[in-house]
């Protein structure tokens, strides 16, 4: 395993909220100015630390949504109603506020874009965030790497980055996006309308002979299911990288 971008000690830094983007009713992106940010790879995450006025602190990890090329660092956060940090980041934070963070973290669930292999991205809910960093990295570098995203959301309104994904997929440069809506579908919906299954994966995934590299990110049951199905379909387990989001505590 090659050493990666994370080399020195990861120090706590301040990011200033430059912009807030409400992506869906429960999901927002925080666009941060982080002076001295040393860069990251698509797929990595940061730790965010909040401090109350009596010194009480709480930390959580959030995937980076922005590509390495952007001058600002974006994280996209889903508000968990019983969470501790996410209701602050989605609801309380305003532009101009400072947020303490350190990173980038993680050297495995990353895509550098220097690989010829086709890419299969499988996302559930806010699991799309690190995969979006990869898609944006691909677009920023005008890469033509054949890439397919299969993205499972509860409803149309819950699709994060919907307009941007539509735009990028219509560029005709080798990116395709397939959606499935598991709970509710708008009238005239032509995408999938069920939980991810083997028939869906067989339609969307690259033939295993093309030896794609696969990134799966989402809630644990969805990731377990998708990864197991891919292995049953004959994909090399070593080429299937997973990242799981517990629905816990965030």
């Amino acid at each position: 395993m090659a050493r990666t971008a994370v080399l020195g000690r990861l120090i706590w830094q301040f990011g200033t909220v430059a912009e807030l983007v409400q992506e869906t009713p429960k999901v927002a992106s925080l666009i941060l100015d982080v002076p001295g940010w040393t860069g990251h790879l698509a797929g990595q995450h940061v730790d965010v630390r909040l401090t109350a006025d009596d010194g009480y602190q709480a930390q959580r990890s959030y995937s980076i949504a922005s590509p390495p090329e952007d001058s600002r660092l974006a994280i996209t956060v889903e508000r968990l109603d019983d969470g501790e940090v996410s209701p602050y980041l989605v609801g309380e934070v305003r532009t101009g506020d400072k947020v303490e963070l350190r990173g980038p973290i993680g050297g495995y669930f990353v895509w550098r874009g220097d690989d010829e292999r086709p890419v299969l991205l499988v996302a559930g809910g806010s699991g799309v965030v690190p995969l979006m960093a990869m898609i944006r990295h691909r677009a920023a570098n005008h890469l033509k790497t054949p890439t397919r995203l299969l993205y499972s959301s509860r409803s149309y309104e819950d699709i994060i980055y919907r307009a941007e994904l539509d735009r990028l997929a219509s560029a005709g440069d080798g990116l395709t996006v397939a959606h499935t809506l598991t709970r509710m579908q708008p009238a005239g919906w032509t995408g999938y309308a069920r939980r991810l299954d083997s028939a869906m994966l067989a339609e969307v995934a690259w033939p295993k002979a093309q030896a794609p590299i696969v990134y799966v990110c989402g809630p644990t049951p969805m990731v377990e299911n998708a990864a197991s199905l891919l292995v049953e379909m004959g994909f090399d387990p070593a080429s299937v990288k997973t990242e799981r989001f517990g629905a816990t505590g965030g």
């Binding site: 000690r9 301040f14 990864a227 197991s228 292995v231 387990p237 816990t248």
Partner: protein, 201 residues
């Protein structure tokens, strides 16, 4: 405290539980799953556990042989580097001391290696002396594959990535060799009480 997150209150804990909680962690009641790839399914008929490397003669156990070894029931707090901690988790397993009984080795380090290719490294002293187990039951039930079944390491005094799932064996080595997460940005030792999460911590 110089910096305050404007408007942040947080969810405070009682003092009793906060003294059991390493810095930067929070308590969960469920059992989150974290793995870097698909969950391997290993039938116990094909399972074996080995101790190899700096040892005169490698030792190995089939599942049946392993299950005839004396077991221990332990209740431990566990701490994942992704910030969750879970208190009072109940395990049944075989102590590494039992597996290492009578082994004469000059090795100072050990590599846990797993079905599926995962590895993690630690000093030998951290798996001996009543500090580590090969666990096959969680809360009295066979360990689910998602959580590392048929058997996983349990090294609860270190961050939980040091407790390899789907354990296949221990390799005794003279020199330290960073494992999977240790080469991917995570701390070489991983003491939660010193918050050794990442390189340089």
């Amino acid at each position: 405290m110089s910096f305050i997150s404007r408007g942040f209150r947080g969810k405070r804990r009682d003092t009793a539980s906060s003294s059991r909680l390493p810095p930067g962690q929070y308590v969960v009641n469920d059992f989150p799953v974290l793995s870097a790839g698909p969950t391997p399914r290993i039938p116990v008929a094909e399972w074996s556990f080995v101790i190899e490397g700096e040892i005169d003669k490698p030792r190995s156990w089939t599942w049946d042989e392993f299950r005839k070894l004396p077991t221990e029931q332990v209740t431990k707090d566990i701490h994942c580097v992704t910030k969750w901690s879970k208190f009072d988790t109940g395990w049944t397993g075989v102590s590494v001391d039992t597996l290492m009984e009578g082994v004469d080795t000059a090795a100072e380090f050990v590599i846990e290696f797993s079905y599926g290719g995962y590895t993690t490294n630690l000093p030998l002293d951290d798996v001996t002396g009543g500090k580590a187990w090969v666990a096959f039951e969680f809360d009295g039930q066979p360990l689910h594959p998602e959580h590392g079944g048929p058997a996983r390491m349990l090294v609860p005094h270190l961050y939980f990535w040091k407790s390899a799932k789907w354990i296949r064996g221990l390799r005794l080595v003279n020199e330290d060799h960073p494992g999977f997460w240790e080469t991917n940005g995570y701390h070489n030792y991983g003491d939660p009480w010193r918050e050794q999460r990442y390189w340089g911590d």
